[in-house]
């Protein structure tokens, strides 16, 4: 307490200094005057009296100085002075200041942006109460490690577990809203009644779902999202209990969710995590099938239960179920993943890659500023030696250097933050829309603190080495050395050379990583994807139950609309299909091939899709053998199927596939054609086996339209929708876009990593080049006299030029080799982002080293030319 009191009293003293100083002088003056008066009274003359008084009491100035030291916070007072001094010095040496500030601002600005991503995607907790207790649960087999959980198994886990407080099912099932004139398809989620209890957020208006909602066949009740409530229902406070028209039937609104409620996301039949869902309706959980897998399971663990305990608990349940139901649950296992891990998925690696790359750039900038500081400290050596000789303490000298870096760091941090703020909108635009938690990437005050903090740490770290050196400066040696003009500060120079080598090594690592990514994307671009995304328009339709409850009705609809479309000008092919390549398709089914025995270790299973005639033509999926679907493959025609090459390779090796009969869903279907493989994602190493059935023979309510046109696909949208409405006036279309857009989106995350790593690599090389340049320029200046002598002794200009270039090249080679040795580690850590490049492939390494060394040579040329121009006469006369 007393210490605190003293501190504040001192703090006041620092800032109210002048007034206190006058008081102090008065007080000391009074003291001396009293003593002098006493002398006068003893009969001394005034001069002698004052002399004696001073002898006895000390000199006023010394006393005032000591008292002031006691009164003020000595260090704070000194620091303020040092800071003022630092600002003046930085302004005077603006060359140094500008380079250091640019290095700091660029690296801190970029790192701040990366931090907003790291923070938003990985660090910030999900917006639910106790998000760490939320987990996703999957069924798991060796072949399908993450399956949706069947409703039957959901019942059993919920009944038997000891680890969960609540658990709920959800699955995407869009509804069509008719409110006003235009039909609209809304993102909707079908959930078991305890979904909101599990997530931990309840409706703000009305009620939550009740168990009865999940069991009543015709419970037409819906909870609506806040955004929909605001935009379509004008925030109607009396909306609860009202009826709205969904899927051509009346539904009752029972609740409204709070603003900002975020859906939990998922990879299967679910939109992304975020405010992506408008309507929530009860999932019918009466069926207890163990075979049908279309529902996602989310659970909330009890407080204190770890994910590992939950895993063991569910595994025990799986073993028990396997005993009870050996038929369906023989190999049943459950997999439990924390919700955050599950949401971020493979993007975690991208985020960390960027964060580490950004960190390397920051380190390079730090080494760069450190090099500059060392150069500056060498230039100040004489000044420091004088200070030392006059009695300045170690701490004082260190402080004066650190103050400069403090000012540098704060300014650099502020500039970096400003840069980040300017670039933030563009940065958010760069992040793909389907990047997990992309909506959370924002410039928050945490990011601001990060910017200032990282700039401060960087610049203080950079100032540490020179500051500590200052404290060891030996005044005698330095003052003497300076006059000799000899090669001084050798260890400082060596430290600087080490820093530059480090910069080059880091820059090489970044260049290798960037080269690996560039090579991957070149390989991917050259890959045959098995379809042509250009010139194709697509959108989704979902046929409601009403009016389409018989399969023929749906088949007729698809046929009529496609026929209409084919008459539109410019349309080359038009069709419907359940799926478009690269949209993250993952639906599998077992089947059997007549005459081919199923291997026990590799059960026949394939991706299934349905398409109308014209689908393969519209996407230009090449036919390998046989034929495409055509009008013969109608609802009444003989059942047929088309398969892809992977299926033939895997399950029918060495056979002529055409004409074989496939048993699919209890019906033999003739194999009529084999088409090229499509991959689920552009960078997948191989395609999964897949088969297609005619949509007319297996009509599905939801389908994607595909229209190939010779012109701009989006300009076709209006006439295509009009043609569709001629067949069904009330059917909305959803998510219109071009297939080229889907293809771009599939590459977006990879491209982001690609661009950023290239930008980082270039920035890193730029900083390293600055480093080499600064070092060599300094060396040349120091050895100017030596070069003069060499020329006088008969060295040619070329000799001198080579001498300096050799120095730069040596640095570059040392750093480059060091970097190339470390780079394979980096390459291994980004393995999941690489395609078609092995981390041991030498060519990216060679490219990167060549680039770095070329840049280093370029940086050495100017100082080398300067050295070569050394005039012996001038150099020697300067002595």
């Amino acid at each position: 307490m007393r210490a605190v009191l003293e501190f504040f009293s001192k703090l006041r003293a620092v800032f109210g200094k002048e007034k206190l100083d006058r008081g102090l002088e008065d007080e000391i003056g009074f003291h001396l005057q009293m003593e002098t008066d006493a002398g006068l009274r003893r009969g001394l003359d005034p001069v002698e009296a004052r002399r004696q008084a001073r002898l006895k009491c000390g000199y006023e100035s010394a006393a005032a100085e000591e008292t002031r030291d006691q009164r003020l916070l000595g260090w704070l007072d000194g620091t303020l002075a040092d800071l003022r001094h630092a600002v003046v010095a930085l302004r005077r040496h603006h060359g140094f200041t500008v380079i250091a500030l640019v290095a700091l601002a660029l690296s801190v600005g970029l790192n701040t942006l990366i931090f907003t991503m790291l923070d938003g995607v990985l660090l910030r907790p999900l917006p639910y109460p106790h998000p760490d207790r939320l987990v996703r649960i999957f069924e798991s087999t060796p072949r399908n490690p993450k399956w949706p959980v069947s409703i039957g198994n959901f019942y059993d886990i919920r009944r038997l577990n000891k680890s969960f407080e609540a658990m709920a099912l959800y699955t995407g099932d869009d509804l069509q809203l008719m409110h006003g004139e235009v039909p609209e398809r809304l993102k909707s989620m079908c959930v078991s009644h305890d979904f909101f209890t599990t997530v931990g957020i309840l409706p703000i208006l009305g009620r939550n779902f009740e168990p009865a909602d999940s069991t009543a066949e015709k419970a037409r009740v819906v909870i609506i999202g806040n955004r929909l409530w605001k935009t379509r229902f004008q925030s109607d406070p009396a909306i609860v209990g009202k009826t709205i028209r969904l899927n051509r039937e009346p539904w009752t609104v029972v609740g409204v969710l709070p603003p900002g409620f975020q859906h939990v996301g998922g990879n299967y039949r679910s939109p992304l995590q975020g405010e992506t869902v408008d309507l929530w309706w009860p999932l019918l959980v009466r069926s207890t099938s163990r075979n049908s897998h279309f529902t996602n399971l989310i659970g909330r663990m009890k407080p204190g239960v770890t994910v590992e305990q939950a895993r063991q608990d569910t595994q025990a349940i799986a073993r028990e179920l396997a005993k009870i139901f050996p038929g369906t649950s023989r190999d049943l296992e459950f997999r439990v993943e924390p919700l955050t891990t599950e949401l971020v998925g493979r993007s975690r690696e991208t985020v960390w890659l960027l964060a580490v790359a950004g960190g390397l750039v920051l380190l390079i900038a730090c080494a760069n500023v450190a090099g500059l500081c060392i150069a500056r400290s060498l230039a100040r050596r004489r000044e420091i030696a004088v200070c030392r000789a006059l009695g300045a303490g170690t701490w004082r000298l260190v402080r004066s250097v650190l103050c400069e870096n403090l000012v540098l760091g704060l300014t650099g941090g502020a500039l970096g933050l400003a840069l980040a703020a300017v670039l933030a909108p563009a940065w958010r635009g760069l992040i793909p829309l389907d990047f997990p938690r992309a909506h959370e990437v924002q410039l928050t005050w945490t990011a601001g603190l990060f910017a200032l903090g990282s700039a401060l740490i960087t610049s203080l770290l950079a100032g540490l080495a020179p500051a500590l050196r200052q404290s060891r400066v030996d005044p005698a040696a330095n003052l003497a050395q300076e006059s000799r003009g000899a090669s001084a500060g050798r260890d400082a120079h060596r430290l600087r050379a080490v820093l530059v080598t480090g910069e080059i090594a880091f820059a090489t690592v970044l260049c290798v990583s960037a080269a690996l990514l560039v090579q991957s994307s070149l390989r991917l671009k050259a890959r045959d994807n098995g379809f042509d995304p250009n010139g194709v328009l697509t959108f989704q339709v979902a046929l409601p139950r009403t009016g389409y409850d018989k399969p023929e009705q749906a088949a007729r609809f698809y046929e009529q609309v496609s026929a209409h479309w084919r008459t539109l000008p410019g349309v080359q092919a038009a069709a419907f299909a359940t799926n478009i390549p690269w949209m993250g398709y993952d639906e599998n089914s077992g089947f059997s091939i007549e005459g081919v025995a199923e291997r026990p270790d590799d059960p026949t299973q394939a991706r299934y899709q349905m398409a109308t005639p014209g689908y393969f033509e519209a996407l230009r999926i090449p036919l390998r053998t046989g034929r495409y679907f055509d009008l013969r493959d109608s609802a009444t025609g003989p059942p047929v199927a088309i398969v892809n090459e992977s299926l033939v390779r895997r399950y029918m090796p060495g056979l002529d596939p055409i004409g074989h009969m496939l048993n699919i869903w209890g019906k033999p279907r003739r194999l009529i054609g084999v088409v090229a493989d499509n991959y689920d994602h552009p960078a997948d190493p191989r395609a999964e086996p897949g088969f297609w059935l005619p949509l007319a023979q297996m009509p599905m309510g939801e389908a994607n339209a595909v229209l190939r046109t010779s012109g701009d696909p989006m300009s076709l949208l209006n006439s295509a929708v009009t043609a569709l409405h001629e067949v069904d006036r009330e059917l909305p279309v959803a998510e219109p876009r071009t297939v080229a857009e889907i293809a771009r989106a599939a590459f977006a995350e990879r491209n982001l990593a690609n661009w950023l790593l290239q930008a980082f690599a270039i920035l890193a090389v730029m900083l390293a080049v600055f480093g080499i340049y600064g070092l060599l320029a300094y060396v040349v200046e120091q050895r100017h006299r030596e070069f003069g002598i060499r020329v006088a002794m008969g060295a040619t200009r070329r000799d001198i030029l080579w001498l300096v270039l050799k120095g730069g090249l040596g640095q570059a080679l040392a750093g480059g080799i060091l970097g190339a040795v470390v780079a394979p580690l980096a390459a291994r850590s980004m393995a999941s982002l690489l395609y078609g490049v092995k981390s041991g492939d030498p060519s990216p390494f060679l490219w990167a080293m060549a680039f770095v060394i070329a840049a280093a040579l370029l940086a050495s040329v100017t100082p080398a030319l300067g050295a070569a121009r050394a005039d012996p006469a001038i150099a020697l006369r300067n002595e």
């Binding site: 007393r2 009191l5 008081g23 102090l24 007080e27 003291h31 003593e35 009491c57």
Partner: protein
């Protein structure tokens, strides 16, 4: 001289003389010690400032009998308590020292 000793001396002088200026404190110490203690201003004033900062002394400008402006120091309640504690401690300490030194070795 130990810092604590100087603090205790100052506190005691201020306690017995009431509001008093720096010169009078120095004079009083010199007088009591019969000239053995000659306080330099560079020792006295930092000491006074230190005690003031710790809230043990309070200072105010006032007129002396000879109509000069001077800074008068007086004890705060905390200073008075501190003086008691320090006095106690000092007696204890000197007692121990005394016994130790009297002990025939």
């Amino acid at each position: 001289m130990l810092q604590g000793t100087l603090d205790l001396m100052i506190l005691k002088v201020v306690a017995s003389l009431g509001p008093v200026h720096g010169y009078a404190i120095a004079e009083r110490l010199s007088q009591v010690s019969e000239g053995a203690l000659q306080l330099n201003m560079g020792t006295l004033y930092p000491g006074l400032v230190r005690l003031e900062q710790r809230g043990l002394l309070r200072a105010a400008w006032d007129q002396t009998e000879s109509n000069r402006r001077a800074r008068f120091y007086s004890l705060t309640p905390a200073g008075r308590r501190r003086l008691d504690v320090e006095r106690e401690e000092w007696s204890r300490m000197t007692g121990i020292m005394q016994r130790l030194l009297d002990d025939a070795i």
